[in-house]
Assembly symmetry: C2
Homo-oligomer: 219 residues x 2
């Protein structure tokens, strides 16, 4: 398990429900979310891939591609997608590609192996790993969940909003931030510079240390 934040995602060729391509070509000049699931035709995974189908438009609007992945083969994915689409209950289609990795080559390289789970043949299974990859092809944020805990795609969307905000302005988002909430100005920006960059102003929190590092603004 090597891949972590700051690392470049390996430019692997993947075999998917939308054909073969290289991961970097999918990312392109935008962003991508690569997420694994333990197995097709299993309960939590069905709810997760259905939610991602429903949220695809929200991610696309923000320039973010989705890529699913498990160790099942393409035929299994194709059959299972019918179940996922039925479960969404809204005529919503799975319009993002899903990688087939029956030889477990990709899950090893992308730090997506769950050492606690094996299939009936004793083969490795993926965890619920999710990497958000930036235009520089580097992993910006990773979630690693076990089989028993379905992810929270609202948190994934929140994280994307934060990453886009930070990439555009010299700001960061505070704990439990939601889009529309105030953001904080990065420590590297001096007060003089901040006045130029945020002409509508910012509010510095008065702290016992008398240091002026906690500055809120809106962007």
């Amino acid at each position: 398990p090597g891949l972590t934040i700051g690392d470049t995602i390996p430019n692997l060729e993947v075999n998917t429900t939308h054909g073969k391509f290289k991961i970097h070509d999918l990312v392109g000049d935008g962003w991508a979310i690569i997420f694994s699931h333990p197995g097709d035709f299993t309960p939590v995974c069905t709810t997760e891939l259905a939610k991602m189908a429903q949220y695809l438009e929200e991610f696309e609007k923000r320039g973010v591609k989705l890529l699913g992945l498990s160790c099942d083969d393409l035929q299994s994915h194709t059959e299972w997608i019918k179940d996922i689409e039925a479960f969404t209950g809204s005529g919503c289609k799975v319009r993002y590609p899903i990688v087939a990795d029956p030889n477990r080559e990709i899950i090893k390289q992308l730090n997506m192996v769950d050492p606690d789970e094996k299939d009936s043949n004793g083969n490795s299974l993926p965890s619920r790993a999710l990497h958000i990859v930036g235009p520089d092809k580097k992993v910006k944020l990773s979630f690693l969940y076990p089989a028993s805990t379905g992810r929270n795609m609202d948190e994934v969307l929140r994280a994307v909003e934060s990453l886009l905000k930070a990439a555009k302005h010299k700001v960061a988002t505070p704990c439990n931030w939601k889009p529309g909430d105030p953001v904080v100005i990065s420590p590297g920006v001096s007060n003089e510079k901040a006045k130029e960059m945020f002409p509508h102003g910012f509010e510095t929190v008065n702290l016992p240390s008398k240091k002026d590092y906690l500055r809120f603004t809106n962007v």
Copy 2:
């Protein structure tokens, strides 16, 4: 960067604002959340550690200990805690320990290094890494966020609730699950067994594959 889910957390001796102890002793027979922050007296970190101070009781109620960590020294932590407590604005105290790791020994072993961030001396800085450790001292779930994105402690609490639920019953929690929502029955549990285990019943979703793997119940 090695530590990932399924791995045993190294039993390191840590120097903290509550004295020296070994990580496994903190976990004990319960659970622990070990979370790093890039630096004391910085904006996002202050909002995060304040939120953890406010949520401590919620975690304690569930048998979960908290342990903060950065590469600043103990004197810095002690001074900074005054700022954090002032920021909570509610008289709330930082009652959990914070590790001092000025030699960067611990962040390396716990996969908490952010390769994109350096301090003014060129030293490594921690990412916003957060590991949830179970009673078996293994990492159950990991969040790795960059410096610019403050974490969502509601998602951390949700994940803890899911892990506790799954540890107690043969269930898993679906995508975007919240406490009180229905859970799904694990694939390894047969329908016969499920009838015994969940005497109040369960609902099987009718899917195109005609496979009966998506079974919701309440526990």
